[in-house]
């Protein structure tokens, strides 16, 4: 047996090369006009982006900003869909809108395939992951997820006020993803730091962000080496052994995909569970109806995903072009807001209302086109089980202090502090 030496010094040099991207001036502070100066990193956006998006949809409907080195924000469903489908003009080489653009030669693979990949490479990288994330594959994790949710509720026993984001929602995807990747379940607190580094604080200096990303890759490297020495039946061992075109994956592909699964698998579902519980805590009629009619939950859940879609993606414009009224420049960002698309009145009746028995709900919370969230079936299973267990165990609850609720800033939005009064 030959020793797998892909994860030695050369691999670290590959990571080093990634830091040779383009940097721009960092502009922070209050937004002067959302149509010409938008920023997804300001507190006003984190607190309540929907009125901002609704107003832009009426006025613009594609906002622009000079921040982040230049970017655009479409707010209509049809524009978001058109960009999601158009991989000729819009690249996924970077998907977090910050003040750093990775070097063009990173396309079509990108730092975290397949989310950062463009065709034709994208198809092959995605195909590797799909079988592990089908509805029937993730159904095998449902019993363990349900048992874990019950354990979390058991631990809330005796408290009148609990933090449903910190003490419930976040732990569910952390546990599931740790099991799938074969990471120690007790490393959850470290995952949280990695997630905050990747998705929040996009206006920190790029050097600081790269240094923080290095810590994530150091952690992943430790896990990879441990799996090389002790192979297991999990996604890490699967990726180490996987082949594309007759060759094992590049080490940066293995680690990049693991980073993607760790970050995107946790923050998103944590946000969806938290936002759903927040809605139910402040809407007694919806809460009472779901307690009385648990069979309505799968329908209601899709409505929570529509109205509180946690994920916004980004793209980079490939070449200078005039697109739907805007003079877009090569490497301009597109902030691809699935939440804004999901509240477009041209696409949805009563778009701004949460209608828990909405039967026709063609929402795009998991994206559209070739980058449809690979974990959507897993996310739906976790969200359904988390809500079923909570509503069965804690049918009567309300917001303890609406003003104390805090929301994650940036491209994944969900409650990070959610004080809930039980009973």
């Amino acid at each position: 047996m030959t020793v797998d030496d892909r994860f030695g010094q050369d691999y670290r040099e590959t990571l080093e090369e990634r830091s040779h991207g383009a940097r721009n001036e960092i502009i922070t502070g209050p937004v002067s006009d959302w149509a010409t100066d938008f920023s997804h990193a300001e507190p006003e956006w984190a607190a309540d982006p929907y009125p901002i998006q609704d107003e832009l949809r009426e006025r613009c409907p594609i906002a622009h900003t000079e921040r982040f080195g230049g970017g655009w924000l479409p707010t209509r469903y049809e524009d978001v869909a058109a960009i999601a489908y158009d991989t000729e003009h819009f690249s996924s080489r970077a998907i977090i809108m910050s003040n750093f653009r990775p070097p063009p030669e990173m396309a079509p693979v990108g730092a975290s395939p397949p989310i950062s990949s463009d065709p034709p490479f994208h198809h092959h990288a995605r195909k590797l992951l799909l079988p592990a994330f089908t509805k029937s594959a993730v159904a095998k994790r449902e019993a363990a997820t349900r048992a874990f949710c019950h354990t979390l509720i058991d631990e809330l026993e005796g408290q009148d006020v609990v933090d449903a984001a910190r003490d419930y929602a976040q732990h569910i995807p952390m546990r599931v993803i740790a099991e799938m990747l074969g990471f120690p379940p007790e490393d959850g607190a470290r995952f949280r730091v990695f997630i905050e580094n990747a998705l929040e604080g996009v206006n920190l200096p790029p050097e600081e962000r790269l240094a923080r990303a290095q810590k994530l890759f150091d952690y992943l490297l430790t896990q990879i080496r441990d799996h090389i020495d002790h192979p297991r039946d999990d996604l890490t061992t699967y990726l180490i052994n996987a082949e594309l075109g007759g060759h094992k994956l590049d080490p940066s592909h293995v680690a990049g995909t693991m980073a993607l699964l760790l970050i995107a698998g946790i923050d998103t579902t944590w946000s969806a569970i938290g936002a759903s519980l927040w809605h139910l805590a402040k809407t007694p009629a919806d809460r009472a109806r779901l307690v009385a009619e648990p069979e309505l939950l799968p329908t209601a859940m899709e409505e929570f995903l529509r109205a509180y879609a946690p994920v916004t993606m980004a793209r980079l414009v490939k070449e200078d072009m005039h697109w739907r009224g805007g003079d877009m420049k090569a490497d301009d960002w597109i902030l691809l807001s699935f939440p804004a698309a999901n509240r477009d009145p041209a696409q949805f009746e009563r778009a701004g209302e949460v209608v828990i028995d909405r039967e026709v709900n063609r929402h795009v919370a998991f994206g559209l086109g070739i980058h449809r969230c690979v974990g959507s079936h897993l996310a739906r299973m976790e969200l359904r089980v988390a809500l079923e267990v909570w509503l069965a165990r804690i049918p009567d609850f309300s917001l303890a202090d609406p003003a104390a609720v805090t929301w994650a800033a940036g491209q994944v939005r969900g409650p990070r502090t959610l004080p809930i009064r039980i009973g």
Binding site: L130, F133, T134, R362, F366, R372
Partner: protein, 63 residues
């Protein structure tokens, strides 16, 4: 009534096999497939309609 999935458009969201499991299933990669010949019995016409109107990619056709 018959249903058909465009494999060009389908991205594996799985809304069809969530909403109409008697008419649609998943393949090994999660893409939707019609069950059998795609014939919709009268009592499944409502489910077929829900699958069509909830597919984010508009990949399902009623023939």
């Amino acid at each position: 009534m018959k249903v058909r999935i465009s494999s060009e458009r389908c991205q594996g969201h799985g809304r069809c096999y969530d909403l109409a499991p008697d008419l649609f299933g998943e393949d090994d990669e999660g893409y939707g497939q019609v069950v059998g010949e795609g014939v919709v019995p009268p009592d499944k016409e409502r489910a077929a309609g829900l699958a069509v109107s909830n597919c984010p990619e508009r990949a399902i056709e009623i023939l």
